[in-house]
């Protein structure tokens, strides 16, 4: 029992551990109560290959389009997949020896978050994308897939003049944060969303800092800029 209580604090630290514990308590009280804690990150897109040529040769990265058979293999609800294509998001799939091993999604200009009522607006618009839902099929995790997907995504995006990709990371996902550190990402801001049935309250480190929403269509708009990367010289 004590281990269950102190586990989150040991794994995430005091502040994030507390947020995690509050979310667990809220979920236990009602399915209409949730707390989401995000870090918003920016990562440079580079044309430098992340994998040596020898390891890249059997790995193919290509765009997956609406209606392709791979879409049915994605572990997301059909309406979520449809909403992504409706947002004009693009999906890049990774194939090793022809086998579908993982994928990543990108949005241009803005990204409508599907967990909370928030739209991330990307700046500078022609050079920015938002990446989300990087998924690697379980049997291919901790192999080449993660680095391979990013290697291919960098190549695809840099060829289209993209210099920055933003993402939001749930603060409870330590493993993902660690893996992305290798890609040179920097924090743009943080946001916490409290959902209480129909009401959603946001507190963020980015303008407008606080937002209250009573309806689905009333979304917070967070403008994202890559200043953190420029300050670090990336």
């Amino acid at each position: 029992m004590l281990q269950k209580f102190i586990g989150p604090f040991r794994e995430f630290g005091l502040g994030v551990g507390l947020l995690y514990s509050i979310d667990r308590v809220l979920q236990g009280l009602s399915s209409g109560l949730r707390l989401y804690a995000y870090e918003i990150m920016v990562q440079p897109i580079t044309d430098r290959p992340l994998l040596p040529a020898r390891l890249r040769k059997r790995l193919e990265i290509r765009e997956i389009k609406q209606g392709d058979p791979e879409v049915q293999l994605m572990p997301a609800r059909p309406e979520i997949r449809e909403s992504r294509f409706k947002q004009n998001a693009i999906c890049l799939g990774a194939f090793q020896n022809g086998q579908f091993i993982g994928y990543i999604w990108f949005c241009f200009r803005a990204y409508d978050e599907d967990e909370v009522r928030c739209t991330f607006v990307l700046h500078p618009e022609p050079e920015s994308v938002f990446d989300f839902d990087l998924y690697i099929f379980p049997e291919h995790r901790l192999g080449l897939a993660f680095v391979g997907i990013w290697s291919g995504a960098n190549e695809f995006l840099s060829a289209r003049g993209i210099k920055y990709t933003y993402s939001r990371l749930t603060r409870f996902n330590v493993a993902s944060a660690r893996a992305h550190e290798h890609l040179g990402w920097k924090q743009v801001g943080a946001a916490v969303f409290l959902q209480a049935w129909r009401v959603e309250l946001m507190a963020a480190t980015i303008f407008p800092y606080v937002h209250v929403s009573f309806t689905r269509n009333n979304r917070a708009r967070l403008n994202l800029h890559p200043h953190a990367l420029r300050r670090s010289g990336a």
């Binding site: 994998l51 040596p52 390891l55 901790l142 192999g143 080449l144 993660f146």
Partner: protein, 83 residues
């Protein structure tokens, strides 16, 4: 204790900053000492340092999660090179 084992331990400590025990049979992925990027970098180090060639298929959990399995992979590749 083999030289290869010590070289791998030293590399992992230098690259990850991990300063605890590195038991030959401990699962370094499960223990979150190595991640996906470390695995690729470690594979490059193994190729260069032990003069063997690794294929994409070699970079799987079964070969790279434990120091003992890395040593077995190096031995197999060395044997294949000389055969």
């Amino acid at each position: 204790m083999s030289t290869e084992l010590e070289l791998l331990r030293e590399y992992i400590r230098n690259e990850t900053g991990y300063d605890g025990e590195l038991d030959a049979d401990a699962d370094l992925l499960e223990g979150k000492i190595l991640d996906s990027f470390n695995i690729v970098e470690l594979a490059m180090f193994i190729q260069d340092r032990f003069e063997i060639e690794l294929e994409a298929e070699d970079l799987v959990r079964a070969n790279l999660s434990r120091l003992s399995s890395m040593l077995a992979l190096i031995e197999r590749k060395k044997a294949a090179r000389t055969s």
